[in-house]
């Protein structure tokens, strides 16, 4: 156990935190409904574009 050192947790203090506005957008039904449609459209486009 002598070679054990403290668990090396990464320092995330430089990572950006979302603003209050961003957090509201992430739960806004209108915004999220639009993003839901866009995400599904993107998956469909990937399926159609994929060379298989």
């Amino acid at each position: 156990m002598s070679d054990k050192v403290q668990s090396p947790v990464s320092d995330l203090t430089g990572a950006p935190l979302p603003t209050e506005r961003t957090l509201r957008y992430r739960r806004n039904l209108a915004v999220q409904s639009w993003k839901f449609a866009l995400f599904n459209a993107r998956i469909l486009r990937m399926v159609l574009r994929g060379r298989h």
């Binding site: 668990s7 995330l12 739960r27 999220q32 839901f36 994929g50 060379r51 298989h52």
Partner: protein
């Protein structure tokens, strides 16, 4: 009449079986050999593992589906392939051992004209001492039963927190060569959400222990996104989520052993560490399901068909060239086994040519690099592709060209829920195109139009939609084949 035998009934094998039943007439026989009687939508095991879904929500019996689709189902595990036949016949064969009463343990040899190896992963908990729910002290979400146990243990942790005890929860990878980082990522944020809903988050330390050298690697070497007119990385995007939720990441870790309440690991700098825990969900490394191969005279030829990892060698470049020379063309396109035009390996069963993430070793020489993910969407695409090839070869003859579906040409979606509620839920939803980066086509390795990361409620809706849509498809309900893989 042709005999098509499919080993395994996971996403890849089940998809291949359903498409073959659609493409071929009843004069041909499709046989699925699987040791499991039920199909499991594994991505939703995450929700079972936090108690948001029951086991019954994510599994269903295979036999009724196969009976309806005129597919022969044998509940058994394959143990050997005889691609040249045996002393009795030159027809290729597979040795199987039944796994269900009353035939449990009975050995049988079945003949095939076309063989699909879709055996999925061998969960190698034994690779790390003390890992796993059976012989160790950690839990898993790899199977629905494992997830049920994980949910029970998590409930215990939450109860102890409610009683005022501080608890440490560790979620991540149980070995330096694990894959499926996305599953551990998803589970850690579901655990975080459960603790918040229970009002005890401040009493819990949540640690994400991973073999990724950077957050956001996900075993695919990370991604570059186009965000607000700037190129940003999945690393920054993921770090932001970890910081926001207060989840502590430990990167570049190889778990050496687990003792009751303590996980011992080495990190890329070569130092060794011990971390005490009250709850640990650590995924095992995957290997190929043990399968031997024999020549017609009984000589073992396992090494001809399989890589040392137990995965089947297909039309990939296994030359072992250095990272700097890796290219998208190293990856298989047809999944046809080397040297055989009637055997394929799909899903996790095929041997990847190398990792996708940059290979790294610790200062002590320990390999600490994620293995390439090939579950879910790519597995389904591979299953369908091979089904199309087999159908063409049966209908048009053995010279019919193989269909192709390289992971360097197909996209994938990874939706990691981080809270399951229709109004307040959230998810990290990512799409990437292609899975294996191709720097000859895209400066960042992938299409910036299709490689995106989104956080929010919409991702949770997508995850829920995929759950119901893929179970509908797997049950072969009307119009199932219109749902893309």
């Amino acid at each position: 009449m042709s005999d098509v035998v499919i080993l395994g009934a996971g996403v890849a094998g089940h998809t291949a079986a359903l498409h073959l039943s659609r493409l071929l007439g009843r004069e041909h026989r499709i046989t699925v050999v699987s040791p499991n009687s039920h199909w499991n939508w594994i991505p939703s095991n995450i929700w079972v593992g936090v108690g948001k879904m029951s086991k019954q929500d994510v599994v269903f019996p295979l036999a009724p589906i196969y009976a309806r689709r005129h597919i022969r189902f044998i509940q058994a595990k394959a143990v050997a392939i005889r691609p040249y036949g045996d002393a009795e016949s030159d027809r290729p064969a597979v040795d199987i051992v039944h796994t269900s009463p009353p035939e449990d343990g009975r050995e049988e040899r079945i003949r095939y004209d076309f063989l699909v190896n879709a055996t999925g992963p061998n969960l190698r908990f034994g690779a790390t001492e003390g890992l796993g729910p059976q012989h160790g002290t950690t839990v898993s979400v790899c199977t629905a039963d494992h997830a049920v146990e994980a949910a029970g243990r998590l409930r215990g942790v939450i109860e102890r927190c409610r009683a005022g005890e501080h608890q440490t929860l560790v979620v991540g990878m149980g070995h330096g060569t694990c894959t499926c980082e996305g599953a551990a990522f998803e589970y850690v944020f579901n655990v975080d959400n459960e603790l918040r809903e229970a009002g005890v988050r401040d009493l819990a330390r949540v640690v994400y222990l991973t073999n990724e050298s950077r957050l956001g690697d996900f075993g695919v070497g990370g991604m570059v996104f186009n965000e607000g007119g700037y190129q940003t990385t999945s690393e920054l995007w993921t770090e932001s989520l970890f910081r926001e939720r207060g989840v502590e990441p430990i990167l570049g870790a190889h778990v050496e052993r687990v003792e009751p309440g303590t996980v011992h690991f080495e990190t890329l700098d070569g130092t060794h560490h011990a971390l005490d825990f009250d709850f640990a969900m650590l995924l095992p490394p995957f290997g190929g399901v043990p399968l031997a191969a024999f020549d017609r005279d009984g000589t073992e030829i396992t090494q001809q068909l399989f890589a040392p990892s137990g995965f089947m060698k297909v039309d990939a470049d296994y030359s072992g060239k250095p990272y700097e020379q890796w290219s998208a063309s190293d990856w298989p396109q047809t999944y046809q086994a080397q040297g055989f035009d009637n055997i394929w390996a799909v899903g996790i069963a095929f041997a990847p040519p190398h990792q996708i993430s940059r290979p790294l070793t610790s200062a002590n020489g320990t390999v600490i690099t994620p293995s390439p993910p090939r579950t879910g969407m790519p597995s389904g695409v591979m299953g369908k592709t091979v089904a199309l090839t087999i159908a063409d070869r049966i209908r048009r003859g053995p010279r019919a060209e193989a269909h192709r579906a390289s992971m360097a040409d197909m996209g994938a979606a990874c939706v990691a829920s981080a809270g399951a509620n229709l109004r307040t839920g959230s998810a990290a939803a990512m799409t990437m195109m292609p899975i294996v980066p191709d720097y000859t086509r895209f400066p960042t390795g992938r299409s910036l139009d299709d490689t995106r990361g989104e956080l929010g409620l919409a991702g949770h809706w997508v995850k829920l939609l995929l759950h119901y849509m893929f179970i509908y498809k797997a049950k072969a309900r009307p119009g199932w084949f219109l749902i893309p893989e």
